[in-house]
Structure formats: C-alpha cells, structure tokens
Amino acid sequence: MSEQLGVMPAQTVGPYLHIGLHWPDGPYVVPEGTPGAFWISGRIVDGTGTPVVDAMVESWQADPEGRFDHPDDPRGARPPALAGFRGFGRSETDGQGCYRLLTVKPGALPEPDGGTEAPHLTLSVFGRGLLHRLVTRLYFPDESTANAADPVLRSVDADRRGTLLASPAPDGLRFDIHLQGDHETVFFAL
C-alpha cells in the first residue's frame, strides 16, 4: 500500500451556506407526484431551544427495494426501481429553522453478519457553529418490529433511541433535530 495521506480537516459552512449550496431541486429525493412520496420535515434547534436558521440537512437512502445505484454495493449497482429516484436530498433551514425533504420509504438492508437493518435514512447536518458535519439516522415509526431488531438502534441507549424515530405528521413525517439539550439527538461517529 502507498503511504497514507493526511485528510483535509472539516470547517464550518458558516452563516452564508445558502449562497453556495442551494439547489432548487435539493429537497426532492423523488420528483413531486411520485407514488408513495411524502414529506419529511422538522426543525433544528440549538441548546437554548433557538431555531437554527443557518443550517442544512442532507439525506441519503436506499430505494424502496433496498438497493443502491452505486458500484460499491457488493450486490451490484442497480438503477432505482422508481423513476426519478435520486436517493439524495438537501434542504437548507428556513427562517424558522425548518427543513423539508420529499422522499419515499427505503427498503430494509442486509447486514454483513446476516442481520437486517430497518429502513432508514442517513442524515448529515451542517451549519454555522458546526465545525464538522453531524451524522444521524432517521427511522420510521411504523416499523417497530424491524426497528427492535436493528443493530444500530440497539447500539444506542434505550432512553435516547427515540430521538432517531420520526413521528407521523399530516403530510408525512416529522423529525426534529436537537443539537443539544434534554432531547439531544443521537449523533454518530462514522
């Protein structure tokens, strides 16, 4: 193996991330009108309960059949089962600290050791005051059996697991992100 190179350190996106990272189609993991599509929305709040108006959420997920159109998936890259499915979403927070993503539910995923991961999205949170992105996961409230067997959820203290569960909302799901405080969201080291 060649000599390992030192990685580039992360830095904050700063307060003006909107100018550089705004995509008009950012929130659309799937196009509007996709059968089964719903909104995931939520608010990001800091340790004082103040909405974070200069942050951004990015999401990544499998398609509804649990596949990725990616060469490193050892099952083989497979074009998405759903037309227009991008797998990726990006949403800056608005003046109330809210983000929103239009998506569909991903399939469950096989684990290397034979287990199964419950359907989930992996999220990155960027913002002013965040020197490195925060990584978290979103799980679905209607998957209690799969969630109970999910190896990642099981690795989290039971009293904090709930922070990774979305809750039903009129147009889909709600998933608030607490950077700090009594309800601090579980964030992961990747």
Partner: protein, 249 residues
C-alpha cells in the same frame, strides 16, 4: 427477508473507510468559536458501523454543472472587481487515489470581503458582477479548476475586532457518504490566522497547514491571473481483500 437457517453470514463484504484520527478534524465544541457553544452536541458521538448506506453515496453527474459554473469571473455581463486567480488541484483519497467525476462546490466573499447574502450587511460594497458561487466536476484524474477573484477578509462579531482570514468554502462528495466533507481553503501567509478561531479550531499544526493553498506560479496565466493549488484528501479505505461472493442473491 429473514435468513435464520444455517446461514449466519450474508456473504456481503463491504469496503471500510478508515476512521479519522482524533486531531484530523476540529473538536465540535471549540469555545473560541462562540457559535459552537450552544450548537455542539454534549453527548459523546455513538459509534456507527459503516453499512450499505454509509459506503455508498450520491454520484452526482454532469447535469449539475453548467458551462460557466467553474468561472466566477464570467457569470455576468461585466467582470468582477479584484485580483483574478485560478484555483486548481486534485481530489484524492487517503491512499493517493484520484476521486474522478465528483462534484466540487465553492462559495466565497467578493474582493471587498462581502458575501452576496441577505444576512451579510457589513458596509463593504457588493459587486454587481460577482455571485461568489462555483461548481465543477473533477476529471478522470480527480482534477478540478476554478477561475475567480481573490476574496477579501471581513469582520465578524465573534470576539473584539475579529476578522476572518480570506477563504473559499469547499464542499465535496467523494465516492461515498463516509467521504462527504465541507472545508475552507485559506491563502498562504495570511496575517489574520493568529486570531481566527475557525482556522485554529484544527489543533494539529500539520492538519491546519493542509487547509492553506500553495501559490503556484507555474499555473498562472501570464498577464491575466495568479494561481493557487489546493489538493483535497478525503478518507481512504482500509485495505481489505475484496471477495466477490454472490451467495446472498
């Protein structure tokens, strides 16, 4: 899907990305940078094994980049004020392998140190010919190139008489979710480094130095533009033998 028979193993062999050294990135709580105090999580991060969602990621292609997106000096009818610079380099992984065809997004202040953003209201002029936003895809060797103007420094309210050193924000996807990175590129010899808590939040001096571009006289365009080279190293993979087994199908 349930596999509960004798098959204890799914046969999936996933690539693994090396975990970063503790000092490779800034600590989330860096009180010198005041905004971290109410925003950095207080619980320790929970270890996340890298599974299918993490070792894959969006491979965003040509459709995202317009013909002039890499040239911030040609996005308007007139030219922006300021010193023209070429910023180029390679995106590599931790083993020195190029990361080809990956999206690089940049944004920056104008030559006077002002961002075209509603919340940037300090009294420096906006430039009608400068947006301060660029995008490019790396080529098959991982190379990218932008043309822009030297950004100015600007004051902020973090501490008494605080000024951010001139910088360009960089956003990178790499090949997998594990490699996603947002950073800032700084300029060599900036006299403002000593008092900047964002730059100095990276505690390891060698790591901090990686964020400073190299002046690159060979890449200048005579009688036109100065040049800087900025290579960006994303996480590398563990060297595990890759077994191509399909017995989970």
């Amino acid at each position: 899907m349930t596999t509960q028979d004798t098959q204890a193993d799914s046969g999936l062999v996933l690539p693994r990305y090396r975990r970063d050294d503790v000092d490779a990135h800034p600590p989330l709580l860096s009180p010198g940078y005041q905004s971290t105090v109410a925003r950095a999580p207080r619980h320790p991060l929970v270890y996340l094994p890298q599974r299918l969602t993490e070792i894959t990621g969006p491979l965003l292609g040509e459709g995202r980049v317009g013909a002039l997106d890499h040239d911030l000096t040609r996005q308007h009818d007139g030219e922006p004020q300021g010193q023209r610079i070429i910023v180029h380099g390679r995106v590599l992984d931790g083993d020195g392998r190029p990361v080809p065809h990956t999206l690089v997004e940049i944004w920056q202040a104008n030559a006077a140190g002002r961002y075209r953003h509603a919340r940037d209201t300090w009294p420096a002029p906006l430039d009608p010919h400068f947006e301060g936003v660029g995008r490019a895809l790396t080529d098959d060797q991982g190379r990218y190139r932008f043309v822009t103007v030297q950004p100015g420094a600007y004051p902020w309210r973090n501490h008494d008489n605080a000024w951010r050193p001139a910088h360009i924000h960089f956003s990178l996807f790499g090949r997998a979710f594990t490699q996603r990175l947002v950073t800032q590129m700084y300029f060599p010899g900036d006299p403002l480094f000593f008092q900047d808590p964002v730059f100095n939040s990276v505690r390891d001096q060698a790591a901090r130095a990686r964020m400073i571009a190299r002046y690159d006289h060979a890449a200048t365009t005579p009688e036109w533009a100065l040049a800087y080279e900025f290579d960006i190293v994303l996480r590398g993979r563990e060297s595990t033998p890759f077994e191509d087994e399909d017995d989970d199908e």
